[in-house]
Symmetry: C2
Subunit: 439 residues, 2 copies
């Protein structure tokens, strides 16, 4: 992408409304633009990150056996009356009347609708286990939306729903999502700790939140230190028997404030007790028959009897994750993107646009990088070099390839690694080879 043909409205000053660093940096880098309280447009740079996160979430969901569908944003109020949640949900639910005065709502979550889809389409235990998920915009009418995409009103969520014939099988489904979440967050460059959590308006008796630690976190969390650096299991696991991997983690103390047990926490060795603040990026629930029983989601069992299915639901805050990643990965100069979600792989900086040799070298690099499948942002405007360096540091692309008139006369270019700040000068061809080689 040529910057001259792109929309990248950088802000020089820190916007006064942004209280936390991720909100500040997302506004300063022109990733988002507020269109109403808690409602954002995703400008091109921000959208590229959102799409990369979505792709990783899709891959890990499908690896764990989940099947993608897509439910609409608007739902009928009557559907929520079946579960009893229409009246319970309170003011966070955005209630709408259409032209015929039918009561509708903008979905804050989809337990009712997926249960309706399931009961209308699946009839036999032979079709189980089943896990259906989508990535769709949700709306929660927060009293005070704040912190940018971290607590917005219109937000993008991945929500998966598992259906099983009994509790034992449902717990296996829960374990698959538990491990898939660890792998997902790890690929996003995050250290997410699973913690016993309150089930809130979703309900049920078993629930974990996946929490990343950050000073700006919204809630207090307590956990055994070893959980923070425990590596994710990866894809090469036995997906039919994950209990050992789950137990390895749940046997160590970890709880959110609502579920905190001071006595149990004090039993953790003192040097392993970690009391911190955290950001929730995922939340999983097992709630058995809470929706299937009142809504009549049954299948025929092996003996021919009709059985209520056992369900769980599994959410990832896709848009809020961007805030979480930035909170975890930035410095004084701006964002430092993990390679897995960076909006561009390489920033190509032309230090003297209009100089024949510079332009030719940049065009050559641009074409070669694109041909190798790299996403390149080519800084081809006539800004001063200092401004170009500052803006490329600000938006945090992992590698900067810097081409200036003096260097290129000798076949030399500069390469800068954003995370470490290391810069070195090298032969143009060698740098191109390094940046285009298969990952």
């Amino acid at each position: 992408m040529r910057l001259s043909r792109y929309l990248l409205p950088l802000l020089k000053e820190n916007p006064s409304e942004a209280q936390i660093v991720s909100h500040r940096l997302m506004l300063r880098t022109g990733m988002i633009r507020q269109e109403a309280a808690g409602i954002y447009a995703w400008l091109p740079l921000g959208l590229r990150v959102l799409r990369k996160i979505e792709k990783i979430v899709h891959e890990e969901m499908q690896r764990a056996g989940a099947v993608e569908l897509l439910m609409p944003t608007l739902q009928l109020a009557d559907l929520w009356r079946e579960s009893g949640r229409y009246d319970d949900y309170g003011q966070e639910m955005l209630r709408i009347k259409d032209r015929h005065e039918r009561e509708m709502l903008y979905g804050p979550t989809n337990e009712e609708m997926i249960t309706e889809i399931f009961r209308g389409t699946v009839k036999s235990y032979k079709d189980l286990p089943m896990n259906l998920y989508h990535i769709q915009w949700k709306f929660r009418d927060e009293q005070r939306p704040r912190f940018g995409v971290m607590r917005g009103r219109e937000f993008l969520m991945k929500d998966a729903y598992s259906f099983d014939i009994d509790e034992a099988s449902a717990r296996k489904a829960y374990n698959r999502m538990f491990i898939a979440y660890l792998n997902t967050f790890s690929r996003l460059g995050l250290k997410a700790v699973p913690m016993r959590a309150d089930t809130g308006p979703i309900g049920g008796d078993l629930s974990h939140e996946f929490i990343i630690l950050a000073e700006t976190g919204e809630s207090a969390v307590f956990c055994h230190k070893d959980l923070v650096d425990m590596p994710a299991p990866g894809a090469d696991v036995d997906w039919d028997d994950l209990q050992g991997l789950v137990d390895q983690r749940t046997s160590l103390y970890a709880a959110t404030e609502e579920m905190h047990d001071e006595a149990a926490f004090n039993a953790v060795p003192a040097d392993k007790q970690l009391s911190a603040r955290g950001i929730e990026v995922g939340h999983i629930f097992y709630f058995g028959e809470k929706y299937s029983a009142p809504m009549g989601a049954k299948v025929s069992g092996a003996d021919g009897s009709q059985v209520n299915v056992h369900m769980g639901s599994y959410g990832v805050g896709v848009s809020r994750l961007i805030g979480g990643i930035i909170e975890a990965s930035h410095d004084e100069a701006g964002i430092i993107w993990p390679e897995s979600v960076t909006p561009f792989d390489v920033a190509l900086v032309n230090l003297r646009v209009g100089d024949e040799a510079c332009d030719a070298a940049c065009e050559k690099a641009y074409k070669a990088l694109k041909a190798a499948g790299r996403d390149v942002l080519y800084h081809d405007t006539d800004d001063r070099p200092g401004a170009k360096f500052a803006s490329m540091d600000l938006i945090g692309i992992p590698w900067q390839l810097i081409i200036g008139p003096k260097g290129i006369a000798e076949g030399q270019v500069e390469i800068k690694h954003r995370a470490t700040g290391e810069r070195h000068t090298a032969a143009f061809d060698a740098v191109l080879e390094q940046l285009t080689k298969a990952k």
Copy 2:
């Protein structure tokens, strides 16, 4: 994908509420499920087609120089008061109040919001031309939603918006979208004819609808026959000068009912006069300063003066396209997917699940096809062969690879081409080689 792990709820009977063939087939094949009047959930099979269409639309937009962003579904009423459309739009606009009684709406289109984004971020003629687009859910509260996704209420639209310094440049932007649309629809397997069209609530003085001809079309259309089979220009054109390609088409008579000129139509040679019914799949507009003037979207010109930008907008009905494609491509037995948008490339039919040789051959084929990047639906349930054939014909995957116990004992399998109905028996290895070779 193994059918035993998939959600594919086929209907044996024609649903009584479906009046047109595409609606009927989308329900029968379990592509969609109605959740409220004009509001559908996209079940896994339908979503795969939607995603393939989106991908083609993205590629052709970006080839024509458009940059992707993503605007939210909900908008502030005050934004629409700036253009004067809030009161004009009528009952098709879904009006919403949030918990603080702020007036909002579910966007039916985005001219106001993109103009607000533009005026807040772009300041100079040097940043033009610019074309920004997104693919996002829209809502239009139709009085009588019908025909499935063809006239739904919550629907997926691609909308692009061009910004130029003057009318001459804006007409070039219009031409780029004109040609991009021809290429897009052609890749989707559709013959779409550009026709002079009414501008309706969007406004402006130049507009074309892209119409596919179908008996079930919603409106009467009139055109020169040569336009129907005129091939799309393709990607290899001079994107800076497309006037000749556009003129070649607009010089022939083509108009929707609202713009129909009987006298001009009668001037077309009698054997070239085509009067038919059509389905609108795209609509493009040039409307100059209609939004930029009242909303103050200006840039500084080369002489330093402040100039209102000239705008156009360009819509493609992404979800309704699926209905259009099915209307254009089906037979008595079901859907016939064009290869570019088919939900799966190959249906792998195991005629005797449980037979060791059949299962082994199917597993081998399944792995080989997946390794070659083919999307495969493996029919691995214990349905009777007749039911399997009928359901695979119904869902319309282009190629069926049929493996049965008699054939495989002799190393033979059957391959069926859905569009022509041709079946032939051949050596297993040769068929696998054919289906896995690079496209």
